[in-house]
């Protein structure tokens, strides 16, 4: 995972909150709670050029915390909040969001202290 190059999905918006940030995916309607300011800083730093390991180094994430950051990023990749650099270009060609594989329904609750995926339920 650490060698992968990922970036925030262009369909995702981030909003700062007291606990960290909220991320919302306009395509699959998933809402994710990023529950630590350091994780938010790492996600903002993902630029689609550096590997995850390089970004964690640049953000000064201590070795003992790395595994939990990598797990959090992996779960965000699973829920399509992040995407690999290569898929970013594909997303940009303007296909309607709703028809691009929208998942409506309850996504799994991710059992991590850092990331919580909630049902966008209304």
């Amino acid at each position: 995972m650490e060698h992968r190059v990922v970036t925030l999905n262009p369909d995702v918006a981030l909003r700062p909150e007291p606990f960290g940030a909220l991320a919302y995916h306009y395509g699959n309607r998933r809402l994710v709670f990023l529950r630590h300011p350091d994780l938010v800083a790492v996600v903002y730093a993902l630029d689609g050029h550096r590997t995850i390991a390089e970004v964690l180094d640049a953000e000064g994430i201590a070795p003992r915390r790395r595994a939990s950051f990598v797990a959090a990023l992996a779960s965000m990749l699973d829920s399509e909040m992040l995407c690999e650099r290569a898929t970013r270009a594909n997303h940009r060609d303007g296909a309607p969001l709703r028809s691009s594989g929208a998942v409506i329904g309850a996504p799994p609750v991710v059992p991590l202290s850092f990331v919580h995926t909630a049902e966008v339920h209304q």
């Binding site: 918006a13 909003r15 700062p16 909150e17 007291p18 606990f19 909220l22 919302y24 306009y26 309607r29 809402l31 709670f33 529950r35 309607p96 969001l97 709703r98 028809s99 929208a102 409506i104 329904g105 309850a106 609750v109 059992p111 991590l112 202290s113 919580h116 909630a118 049902e119 966008v120 339920h121 209304q122």
Partner: protein, 372 residues
């Protein structure tokens, strides 16, 4: 997992910089007069927001990075500027989920909706047949809703939602509703009946029995991963296993309502002065109301469990729904009227005084009915 969920709920209870789940009732006008209408809709209010004011609200919400809004009514499609409002929301990057009875969802409008991004549509239906649905939603309303669903399907809209309020009369149809949704490739949404608006009058006859509540709980445990609930059944968690979702009252913390005249309330089910936080027409607009109103700041303080403190189930049910308590005249720091342990029923039997309805846009009762 539960530890992490608990602390998330605690974080959310102290409020967010902007709501996650904002409902905006665009008009009190409605072609129907559902007996459980939470906003007592029927007639348009002369002071409803103008198109320009509505655009201003959307601009404020975009500024606050509200990701999406839930539009309702009344019947929102009655507004002549309905599509203008949808277009403006899309321009500002705000997703729209709107709720309709389907009466104005013609094949042409269905095609227009199908061409739009960031849009979800939900059609309300409260029975699997006209015999179950129409006594609640009005004569002909079942046929209207089914025609709207056919139109959306015909336009290739994709997975729309079918939204059910669970009542005593349709609990037995839950499997049928799921099958209907599957048939359309739609998503089923089932929510809890609240005694709000005209629901205050119909609630006693419509709300599920205690035995039916157990049935609903079991059904949601079996189907919860594929059915939306608006997290509205958390009072049932006192029966044992917790349902999926956040399981907390979000009023004024993550949820709020903007009514057609721009008044802001703590949640869609508490259109009453007691829970009015301000107006989008006030200086500072919606953002100031959300961030600074006394009503919302009070809701973000730790709440007392009151009479429920001694009950072992409080952590699971959180004392239930504020709106359900308020409109049945029960204290807010006591049991929910549908408390599965039975405390609410006991409290109701002891006597309660429901509040007066202050906002009511119901159409006048026809003279012929009065004369009977």
């Amino acid at each position: 997992m539960s530890t992490s969920q608990h602390s998330l709920v605690d974080e959310l209870k102290s409020g967010l910089d902007a709501p996650i789940c904002l409902t905006w009732e665009l008009t009190y006008a409605c072609n129907l007069q559902c007996v459980h209408c939470l906003s007592s809709s029927g007639r348009r209010d002369p002071h409803e927001l103008t198109t320009q004011e509505a655009f201003g609200v959307l601009d404020d919400l975009a500024e606050m990075q509200v990701f999406y809004i839930n539009i309702g009514g009344g019947e929102p499609m009655i507004r002549r500027d309905f599509f203008d409002i949808l277009d403006h929301a899309a321009r500002r990057g705000i997703g729209v989920k709107f709720s309709t009875n389907g009466a104005y969802l013609t094949p042409e409008r269905a095609r227009r909706l199908a061409s739009m991004d960031y849009l979800d549509v939900q059609i309300s239906l409260d029975g699997l047949d006209a015999a179950t649905n129409d006594p609640v939603r009005g004569d002909g309303s079942y046929a209207l809703a089914r025609t709207a669903m056919d139109n959306l399907a015909g336009a290739g809209f994709g997975p729309f939602k079918i939204s059910i309020v669970v009542t005593r009369h349709n609990v037995a149809q839950l499997d049928g509703f799921k099958a209907l949704a599957d048939e359309y490739g739609a998503t089923l949404r089932v929510t809890r009946l609240r005694p709000s608006g005209r629901g205050a009058d119909s609630w006693h006859e419509l709300h599920p029995t205690n035995e039916q509540q157990r049935e609903i709980h079991r059904w949601l445990l079996d189907h919860g991963d594929h059915v939306l609930t608006g997290d509205s059944f958390f009072h049932l968690n006192a029966l044992g296993e917790s349902l999926p979702g956040l399981n907390m009252c979000g009023a004024g913390r993550v949820v709020c309502l903007i009514d057609p005249t721009g008044d802001v309330y703590a949640c869609p089910f508490v259109i009453h002065d007691e829970f009015k936080a301000g107006s989008v027409r006030d200086a500072g607009g919606f953002a100031a109301v959300w961030r600074e109103s006394d009503t919302f700041l009070a809701l973000r303080q730790p709440q007392s469990a009151g009479a429920c403190a001694s009950c072992g189930q409080f952590d699971a049910c959180q004392g239930g729904c504020m709106a359900a308590k308020f409109f049945t005249g029960l204290p807010l720091d006591g049991p929910d009227p549908e408390c599965v342990v039975g405390h609410g029923e006991a409290a109701l039997l002891e006597g309660s005084t429901p509040p007066l309805m202050l906002v009511d846009h119901s159409r006048p009762v026809p003279v012929t009915l009065l004369a009977r």
